[in-house]
């Protein structure tokens, strides 16, 4: 009883100390449990990593669990990012959320509006945790109004994958991959190969229909996706991609498919990857997170090259790539002891040694710059220099609202709507402008509904 009173007293003192503090920073610290709270003995972590990446994740957790005896983290694989979010949504409704959860990049606004999260900034401020060494692009993506809501965990970005052997075969320089829309179209025309009967046996370029790739193309075009600073200055009220830049992207894509030098794998991202592996396509665009998988499957049959993500011929200076991947959220509905334990784990996961190992095990790049100096990371970059393309692209991208990426509550729906938009253009059901306008109108109505339902 006395011990309890003692702690209670300490808590009130700490609380009052925090309560009356100066504005601009330590306000959020009050949202975190007090430093003296003993972390819980076990917590659960819901994630969406499987296969090689799942193994790597479990390795990190095993390392944490064996490095100390106070806290044990239990991981549960909940399917892919979409399934996990749906599961989390249902769990929140019945108070069954776990302490720590991995949610993808576009789930940001949803998590923020759910008011179920303890912002990471709270812990950072409370412990004066140093984030100077963190990759700026990554940190900026997960901040909302200058406060970090979650801790980035697996960071990726898309790039151009190309078949160096095929390049040599048709007289293209394998060391200089195409970068602009026109360069890619020209290269694709050269790389497309037909057999005696006229069937195409190899297409030059085979991008899958994926909203994320379109978002990235808008970013490299130096364009906003949504208003109000991409939804980061204030809540987004509409999407704005039905402009000349959006049209240029769709026109380029359609010309390629109609011209027979772009392959259309539909919405099947795995199919696009398989087509590249099977040398049915000589180039395609996808996340750096697939690099490890490609190297393993291709098994030396051909030389894999990676290049910068496509951009318009004018190569706008404000254009660059947005980071992708997922981040970790600490859930408010759990007791403070569990929140504390979750934070302990997060700190561990951000140490350079762990980040370096994570990078070499997966293909995601480290959040902490010091990780690049660790052994596994150095080994990795020497063995697979292709990986450096992604991090170079991110570091060379200017940091602005366009490259920070859009934050909208209905982002998952928006992404799927873009899929439909691209499909309708490629199938010839609508002109680029009409398809863009239709998508924008529909999404604006959805955003409106969302904003009204979540005041």
């Amino acid at each position: 009883m006395r011990k309890f009173l003692g702690i209670a007293l300490a808590l009130t003192m700490v609380a009052s100390a925090c309560g009356g503090s100066a504005p601009g920073g330590s306000d959020s610290a009050a949202l975190a449990p007090s430093k003296d709270v003993t972390p819980a003995a076990t917590i659960t972590w819901w994630h969406a990593m499987s296969g090689v990446n799942g193994d790597a994740l479990n390795k990190i957790v095993a390392g944490f669990n064996s490095s100390q005896s106070k806290i044990k983290v239990e991981t549960v694989f909940q399917g892919n990012y979409d399934d996990l979010l749906a599961k989390l949504n249902t769990a929140i409704a019945s108070n069954a959320a776990p302490a720590l959860v991995q949610v993808y990049d576009i789930g940001q606004r949803y998590m923020y509006d759910s008011a179920q999260v303890v912002p990471m900034q709270a812990f950072i401020d409370r412990d004066k945790f140093d984030t100077k060494d963190f990759e700026p692009a990554v940190i900026n993506y997960y901040k909302y109004q200058d406060k970090l809501q979650s801790m980035p965990f697996n960071a990726s970005t898309p790039m151009l994958y190309y078949n160096k052997d095929a390049f040599k075969e048709v007289g293209l320089d394998p060391a200089k991959p195409p970068v602009t829309f026109t360069e890619i179209a020209d290269a694709a025309k050269k790389l497309t190969k037909k057999d005696a009967s006229g069937t195409t046996v190899r297409f030059g370029f085979g991008p899958s229909i994926y909203g994320w790739l379109f978002e990235q193309l808008m970013a490299t075009s130096g364009q906003l996706y949504a208003d109000n600073g991409n939804g980061r200055d204030n809540r987004a009220t509409k999407v704005v991609y039905n402009n000349a830049a959006g049209k240029a992207i769709l026109d380029w894509w359609k010309a390629g498919v109609d011209g027979g030098y772009f392959f259309n794998p539909g919405i099947d991202n795995d199919g696009a990857a398989n087509a590249f592996n099977a040398q049915k396509t000589a180039m395609y665009i996808e996340s750096t997170a697939r690099l490890r998988g490609h190297i393993t499957t291709v098994a030396g049959k051909f030389d894999i090259g990676t290049g910068l993500y496509p951009r318009p011929d004018s190569k706008p200076k404000e254009g660059g790539n947005i980071i992708g991947g997922a981040s970790l959220y600490i859930m408010k509905s759990r007791p403070p002891a569990e929140q504390q334990a979750a934070w302990e784990f997060v700190k561990y996961a951000m140490t350079p040694a762990v980040q370096g190992q994570w990078q070499s095990d997966t293909g995601y790049y480290p959040i902490v710059k010091a990780a690049y100096d660790t052994g596994p990371s150095k080994e990795w970059s020497t063995k697979y220099p292709q990986f450096l393309t992604a991090i170079t692209a991110i570091r060379d991208s200017p940091q602005n609202r366009m490259t920070n990426g859009a934050v909208i509550g209905v982002m998952p729906q928006a992404r799927m709507r873009v899929n439909k938009m691209i499909e309708s253009v490629l199938l010839g059901q609508a002109t680029s402008q009409a398809a863009l306008d239709a998508a924008v109108t529909e999404m604006n109505a959805a955003i409106d509904k969302y904003n009204k339902a979540n005041p």
Partner: protein, 271 residues
């Protein structure tokens, strides 16, 4: 051998291969390595068969545990269904009471209600009574079956009325008659209901996905879905998982196929 016979057999062989073709392909691909699959044009048969995919499945997911879970839950559901459906079908065939017709339509209506309309509230209920991650949570909601009730009702209606009359004269209670006469006479159709119930529970995906958070409580269909990774789709691995999960049900079919047909012939679909 007459030409007609040869032709008939030929037709049957071709037909069977076409129907079973997807399963044969699944088997074939489960024995291929990823690099072999990633070739164009796509291969049909493997030149270098490997059991690696099966080993990988065992490494990736605790499939033994999943099979056990599915088996336990399916058996529980079947037991529950046989009891509830027999009682209900009996009431609809032998007992006379006012409101019987209306109650029958109530049963019928449950067949038409789409699962999306009930799944969220059901999740909340299961969560409230603490049945998440439990066998009860996976089994109890499915222990009543309108479909099974109808099948049994049709079969019960075929039982000669004289037996019923004789039993009544002897003073036997209605329950006695059910247990000592009706059930033994309906073994084929009960077998059919059991097999149907087992298969449909075993093949469930969305409900187990929703209410199990712990890996160890998951069932087979959720398990093989976990073989589809976020960054790559390894068809060889997925097909190996598919084969491992389908084998028990195929075995059940081989054993129970004659049963199923006999049960359905016993009046269920004659009206």
């Amino acid at each position: 051998m007459s030409v007609r016979l040869v032709l008939t057999y030929a037709l049957l062989v071709v037909g069977s291969i076409i129907v079973a073709f997807p399963l044969l392909i699944a088997l074939s691909y489960s024995l291929m390595s990823e690099s072999e699959i990633a070739t164009f044009p796509p291969p049909l048969l493997t030149t270098r068969p490997t059991l690696n995919n099966y080993a990988d499945v065992l490494d990736t997911i605790p499939i033994g545990r999943y099979l056990l879970n599915s088996f336990i839950v399916s058996t529980a559901v079947v037991a529950g269904q046989l009891i509830t459906a027999s009682l209900a079908a009996y009431a609809f065939s032998f007992l006379v009471f006012r409101g019987r017709q209306a109650l029958f339509f109530v049963f019928l209506s449950t067949l038409m209600i789409p699962w999306e309309a009930t799944i969220i509230p059901n999740y909340m209920t299961i969560r409230t009574i603490g049945w998440l991650d439990t066998y009860q949570g996976l089994a109890v909601p499915f222990m009543a079956t309108a479909f099974g009730t109808f099948l049994l009702r049709q079969a019960f209606l075929q039982i000669p009325r004289e037996l019923w009359d004789a039993a009544r004269i002897d003073g036997a209670s209605s329950f006695r008659f059910l247990v000592s006469t009706v059930i033994p006479l309906s073994r084929p159709i009960l077998g059919t209901v059991a097999i149907y119930g087992f298969l449909s529970t075993y093949n469930q995906y969305f409900w187990p996905l929703l209410i199990t958070n712990q890996t160890l409580m998951r069932t087979t269909q959720v398990g093989i879905a976990q073989l589809r990774f976020e960054e790559t789709l390894r068809f060889g691995l997925v097909m190996a998982g598919v084969v491992m999960v389908a084998v028990p049900t195929l075995a059940l079919l081989v054993l129970g196929q004659r049963q199923l047909v006999r049960g359905l012939t016993a009046g269920a679909v004659k009206g």
